[in-house]
C-alpha cells in the first residue's frame, strides 16, 4: 500500500496544479486552432503539442524536464537557446523566397522598413512598463512578427523570456486574420483599398536574381553585423535557389532542413512553457505588449504607404503596408484578401509578397541592431 501511495505521489495527477492545467488548455487551444481552423498549422501544431507535453507535471530531479540538464528535451532545446534553429529556419526560408516581385517593385521595400517601427515603439513601451533594456528589446522584436527572429534575439538577450516571447510571436502570427483586417480597414478609405497596382512589364534577369542575395547580405550585414546569423543563411539559401547549380541542396534546405528545424523549434518552445515558469505577470505583460507591437507594426506600414502616396504619381494601395511585417506569407495573403473584398478582380498578392520578403530582411536587421545596442 505504501508503495502504491508513493507511486501515486509521483504521478502527474498528484503533482498537478492550476497553472499546468491552464497551460494544458492553452496547448489544446493551439492544437484545435491548427487542426480545425488551420491557423498557421505548421507552427501551432508543434507548439501546441509541445505545450501539452511540457506541462505534464513530473517529479523534479529525474532529468525529465526541459530545464533539467541531461534531459532529452533539454538537448533539443539547445537549438533554441543557442539560436541554432532560427538560423536553420532562415536558411530554408531563403531557399523558398522568390525575390522577383521585390526586384521589379523595389520601392515596396520601404513598406517593409516602415512596418518595423512597431518594434521601436514597443521597445519604449516595454521600458516604460519597467522591463529591463534586454527584456524590452526581446519583447519589442515581437513587432517584427517573425517567430525565428524573436526567438533568436530573446535567446541572446533574455533567455528566460524565450517561452513567452516565442508563444506571443507565433500566436500573433497565427492570429493575423483576426488582428490585421480591422487595423487595415480603420486606417484606409474604400477608394484607397480599391487602388490597383500597375503591372510592371519587365522580367527579372537571372543576373539580377544572382546579384541580389550577394548585395543584400553585404549591405545588410555591414550595417548590422549582429544580423549575420540570420541574414547570412537567409541570403545563402536564396543564392542556392536562384543559382540553379545546386538544386538538390536548395530543395533540401527548403524542405527537409527547414521542416526538421521547425518541428524541433516549435515542439521545444512549446515544451518550455511550463506553467510554474511561464505563468507570471511578466508573461501577461509580454502578451499585451506583443499585441501592441504587432498592431503598431501593421499600422505603421499602412500609414507609411499613405504617406508615400502624397509624393507619388502612381499611387500604392495602402493595404500593402500591412504586409510589411515579416509574417510570411500570412500577412501578404490577408492583404490580398482584403483587397479582393473591395474588388474581386484586384490582385495584390505578388505586390504584398514583395513587402513581406522585405519585412523579413527588415526585422532581421532590427534584431541585429537591438542586439548590438544591448551588448
Amino acid at each position: 500500500m505504501e508503495l502504491f501511495l508513493q507511486f501515486l505521489s509521483n504521478t502527474g495527477f498528484y503533482l498537478t496544479d492550476y497553472r499546468y492545467l491552464i497551460m494544458m488548455a492553452v496547448g489544446c487551444t493551439f492544437v484545435y486552432l491548427a487542426i480545425a481552423k488551420e491557423y498557421e498549422p505548421l507552427l501551432l501544431l508543434p507548439i501546441g503539442f509541445g505545450v501539452i507535453v511540457g506541462n505534464i507535471p513530473f517529479f523534479k530531479g529525474f532529468g525529465l524536464g526541459i530545464y533539467e540538464s541531461n534531459s532529452v528535451l533539454h538537448y533539443l532545446y539547445f537549438g533554441v537557446t543557442t539560436g541554432l534553429y532560427p538560423s536553420i529556419v532562415f536558411l530554408g526560408l531563403g531557399a523558398m523566397t522568390d525575390f522577383s516581385s521585390l526586384l521589379i517593385r523595389p520601392k515596396l521595400m520601404l513598406l517593409g522598413a516602415a512596418a518595423q517601427m512597431g518594434i521601436y515603439f514597443t521597445l519604449l513601451s516595454a521600458l516604460a512598463l519597467g522591463f529591463m533594456p534586454k527584456e524590452a528589446g526581446s519583447i519589442a522584436i515581437i513587432g517584427g512578427a517573425d517567430g525565428p527572429t524573436s526567438i533568436f534575439l530573446t535567446a541572446k538577450l533574455a533567455p528566460h523570456l524565450i517561452g513567452p516571447v516565442a508563444i506571443a510571436a507565433y500566436s500573433y502570427m497565427a492570429l493575423i486574420p483576426i488582428i490585421q483586417p480591422p487595423i487595415m480597414r480603420l486606417l484606409t478609405t474604400k477608394e484607397e483599398r480599391l487602388i490597383r497596382m500597375p503591372d510592371v512589364e519587365r522580367t527579372v534577369s537571372r543576373k539580377e536574381l544572382l546579384l541580389f542575395p550577394v548585395i543584400g547580405v553585404v549591405l545588410c550585414c555591414y550595417l548590422a553585423p549582429a544580423s549575420i546569423p540570420l541574414l547570412g543563411p537567409f541570403f545563402f539559401g536564396n543564392l542556392m535557389k536562384v543559382s540553379g547549380v545546386v538544386d538538390r541542396l536548395a530543395k533540401t534546405a527548403a524542405s527537409s532542413i527547414i521542416d526538421t528545424a521547425t518541428i524541433f523549434l516549435g515542439f521545444t518552445v512549446g515544451a518550455s512553457t511550463q506553467g510554474d515558469v511561464f505563468l507570471t505577470p511578466k508573461s501577461v505583460g509580454i502578451f499585451l505588449l506583443g499585441a501592441v507591437a504587432f498592431s503598431i507594426a501593421t499600422a505603421s506600414g499602412v500609414l507609411f504607404a499613405k504617406l508615400m502616396n502624397l509624393f507619388m504619381k502612381n499611387k500604392i494601395n495602402p493595404l500593402l503596408g500591412a504586409a510589411g511585417v515579416s509574417a510570411v506569407p500570412g500577412s501578404a495573403r490577408e492583404v490580398h484578401l482584403q483587397g479582393q473584398k473591395e474588388d474581386p478582380s484586384n490582385y495584390l498578392l505578388m505586390h504584398a509578397m514583395a513587402c513581406n520578403s522585405s519585412g523579413v530582411i527588415g526585422s532581421a536587421i532590427c534584431a541585429g541592431i537591438l542586439w548590438s545596442f544591448m551588448v
Binding site: L103, P106, A113, Y120, L123, A128, L129, F212, I369
Partner: protein, 136 residues
C-alpha cells in the same frame, strides 16, 4: 522605475530613434541599389558587347572576282560584237545612260571606263543630240 523616467534612464529614446533610422536607411539604400540593378547590368552587358564587336574583325563582304580594268579594256575589240547584241532592243541609236545601265545589268566590269574607251577608240559614234550608235 517606470514611465518616461525608465525610458530616459535606459537611453530608450536614442535607441528607438537610431534603430528606426538605421533600418530605414539600410532598406532605402538596398531598394535604391536594386532599382538600378537592371540598368547597371544592361550597361555592363552593352559595354561588353560593344567591346567584343570592336575586337572581332568586321565581316568582310564576299570579294567578287573583278576583272582588272587593264584586262577588261585590252580586249575591247573582241567584246564589241557582244555589246552590239546587248543594245539591239535600244534601237539603232541610244544614249550613254542606257548603255551604262545595260552594262550594270549584265555585270560588266568598269562600265564608265569601258564607255570612255569605246568612245576614244571610235567604236561608239555620235549620231547627234547626245545619242550614239556602233561603228559599222
Amino acid at each position: 522605475m517606470y514611465g518616461l523616467e525608465a525610458i530616459n534612464a535606459h537611453n530608450g529614446w536614442a535607441m528607438a530613434i537610431t534603430g528606426a533610422i538605421i533600418v530605414m536607411t539600410g532598406l532605402t539604400v538596398l531598394s535604391t541599389i536594386i532599382s538600378q540593378l537592371h540598368r547597371i547590368i544592361d550597361f555592363m552587358e552593352n559595354r561588353k558587347s560593344k567591346k567584343a564587336k570592336t575586337e572581332t574583325p568586321q565581316e568582310q563582304p564576299p570579294v567578287k572576282e573583278i576583272q582588272s580594268a587593264a584586262t577588261a579594256l585590252s580586249n575591247l575589240g573582241d567584246r564589241v560584237d557582244r555589246l552590239c547584241l546587248m543594245t539591239t532592243d535600244a534601237g539603232d541609236s541610244f544614249d550613254l545612260i542606257t548603255l551604262h545601265q545595260l552594262f550594270i545589268q549584265n555585270d560588266d566590269p568598269h562600265p564608265h571606263l569601258t564607255i570612255r574607251s569605246l568612245r576614244e577608240q571610235g567604236y561608239l559614234v555620235p549620231t547627234g543630240e547626245g545619242r550614239f550608235t556602233w561603228k559599222r
